[in-house]
């Protein structure tokens, strides 16, 4: 068992030390140089060419992951690093970079798990420690936001974690690797299916996929404006005793207050509004909460002024989008 483990380790280290045959090794060096020069596309081509020959090479796969990361191809990069952690669970670097990618997507819990794995394998691994410290702080701040209902505008706190750019073999291991110079890729650690040399180009990943998803909430400023405008129109129609206009603000599936038939409810409203009277209804300080893109609750201060009654109170309406109009679906009970 022990022997086997040493053998595997030796093979890994050998790969890390770049013990592959000449021209291919040059491909790797060239890819690395191109990448450092900022020529990512060419670097990726080179590294893919190298991997076509040495599909298990950890250092090249790592470089590929780093290039994809910098190209913003987050999903592909995650795939590369995830496979590396599966094949070489003892290496902390792929975990670290996975954490960087997850954090970039706003998934700090996944980032935390990855970094904790990195530290489990290498307790003294400084970058992972620093990164984990940042993740803990971010997660703590998120938890506090949820606990205390603070405005979660801590997007600024979204930390840019340190990506590790290159797999460098630890000192003192190169000699061990050279002990078996002739068996480079044969003893690769796992019999896992090979990754295709060039990952099929998936649809281009959006620039910041995590961000878009995290901030996507139903409703928008336009819908809010439309709902507020509807509210004003409704209050005006009521003030003007304009029954037709008033009733047109109610959705076809409006829930009548006491469960009466729509027809009866309409009749009673018409009767009320037909009485000649001077009233003024205003709706102010509206707040809109979207349930989804077509449903919302609007709460506001309703002030009602007539000869007999002045009342101010908060009121909430369930509103629904019907075609291009927002209509009242239900008047909610208020105390």
């Amino acid at each position: 068992m022990t022997t086997y483990r040493i053998g595997v380790l030796a093979a890994v280290l050998l790969i890390l030390a770049g013990g592959a045959p000449g021209w291919a090794a040059d491909d790797y060096q060239e890819a690395s140089r191109l990448f450092k020069d900022g020529r990512r596309t060419e670097a990726l081509e080179r590294v893919n060419a190298f991997l076509a020959q040495h599909s298990k090479d950890a250092r090249a796969r790592f470089l590929k992951g780093v290039i994809l990361t910098e190209q913003g191809k987050t999903d592909e990069a995650i795939k590369v690093f995830t496979e590396l952690t599966a094949d070489y669970p003892e290496l902390p670097e792929p975990y670290n970079n996975l954490a960087v990618l997850y954090a970039g997507q706003g998934d700090y819990e996944k980032a935390r798990r990855a970094l904790e794995m990195a530290i489990r394998t290498h307790p003294s691994y400084a970058i992972a420690h620093e990164n984990l410290g940042d993740i803990y702080a971010t997660l703590a701040s998120q938890a506090y936001d949820k606990a205390l209902q603070l405005d979660s505008s801590n997007a600024a706190a979204r930390k840019k974690l340190a990506l590790i750019k290159e797999l460098v073999p630890a000192k003192g291991t190169a000699a061990l690797a050279r002990a078996e110079p002739d068996k480079p890729a044969i003893a690769t650690p796992t019999p896992k299916p090979e990754t295709p040399a060039s990952t099929p180009a998936a649809k281009p990943a959006p620039e910041q996929p995590g961000q878009a998803a995290a901030e996507k909430a139903p409703g928008d400023a336009e819908a809010t404006t439309a709902i507020v405008a509807m509210l004003d129109g409704w209050a005006r129609a009521w003030s003007d005793n304009d029954a037709d206009a008033y009733l047109s603000f109610y959705a076809p599936d409006f829930t009548t207050p006491n469960g009466e038939a729509r027809k009866d409810w309409e009749a009673s409203r018409r009767q009320r509004l037909a009485k000649p009277r001077k009233i003024k209804v205003t709706a102010s300080s509206p707040r809109v909460k979207f349930a989804d893109n077509t449903h919302a609750i609007v709460s506001f201060r309703q002030s009602y002024t007539s000869a007999n009654l002045n009342s101010v109170g908060t009121k909430s309406l369930k509103v629904v989008r019907v075609g291009d109009r927002w209509l009242i679906q239900q008047e909610l009970i208020e105390k």
Binding site: Y136, L139, K146, A147
Partner: protein, 376 residues
Amino acid sequence: MGSRPSQLARALRMPETMLVEALIDVRNNRLDAALKRVDALLAVKPDFRLAQLVKGDLLMARARAIPTLGAAQAPADRLDDLRAEARARFARYSLQPPANRVPRYLLQLEPLQRYAVVVDTARSTLYLFENRDGTPRYLTDYYITVGKNGINKLREGDKKTPLGVYHVTSELPRERLDAFYGSGAFPISYPNEWDARQGRNGHGIWLHGTPRDTYSRPPRASDGCVVLANEDLEELKKRVQIGLTPVIITDRVDWVEPAVAKALRATLNERLEGWRADWESRNTERYLRNYARSFVADNANLAQWSAQKRRVSLGKEWIKVRLSAVSVFLYPGRDDLAVVSFVQDYASNNLSNKMRKRQYWIQEGGSWKILYEGAG
């Protein structure tokens, strides 16, 4: 009577239990175990704000020492609210209703009242009892929130929770409620006749749930309502009987030996029977001796009531009164006031009727007298 909580009760307590056990881990300096527990809890209850606070602290603790619960930079009142919830839940964790004791208020439940609710505002706890042959048997209890400004409601808008003997008057389904009230609401009968007599006012005291994104609210946060977690309210919903289920709210439940409750129950039943027999006897003066000097009915004081009774009695050749479905509750905070409800089946030579009645009995000069009587 005290007994072990059911499996369901334990399941509903799970979030609280996990939270408190995480806090115990913290106290014993097992921070990793605490964080694991809180993570597991938040996986099921992400809206449990107090758990989020503990999680934040545990993560911050990896960077620096945390002096107290809630190391966040945040408005002090919100942190204080959550700390108060932590204290309340910690206290509830080890809380068991005393074995073989009953709340002294539940003297007698009528057969149709299958359950009774007793709220202990000091312990942020709502106890649910089952009616076993007229006496209460503890079923379970829930964490609750009461009024922002505490208890002893007096005025409309004072954001206090009333103390007294009430019952559930109706149910407002979720569909007709603002989302703020969660999965439903049960208005209770505040202000009752005793409240009205003391000039207490206000309305709209409900038992209700929490908004969808809120597992629980701090111990003191409502406008006077009693607020339960939605899942707890759902359980309560299965048992509440509109118009029947008593809701007794007290600042601290007084638990007594069943024998104590039994003795008082017997005394009050005896007095009720005396009143009934005196009525049947058609001896109006003896009948009127059952009423307190400060008696008030809905539209009459004792003098007016007496005059009316004397007038009516002239035409009576015989009277038969039968009482059934009798419930008896001692008023919280008072040893000398009880609420008695029953169905009264009245027959006489010239009038018969059947009605639900409620009486308030008070101790006056060492014996129990009727302070109020009306339809119940």
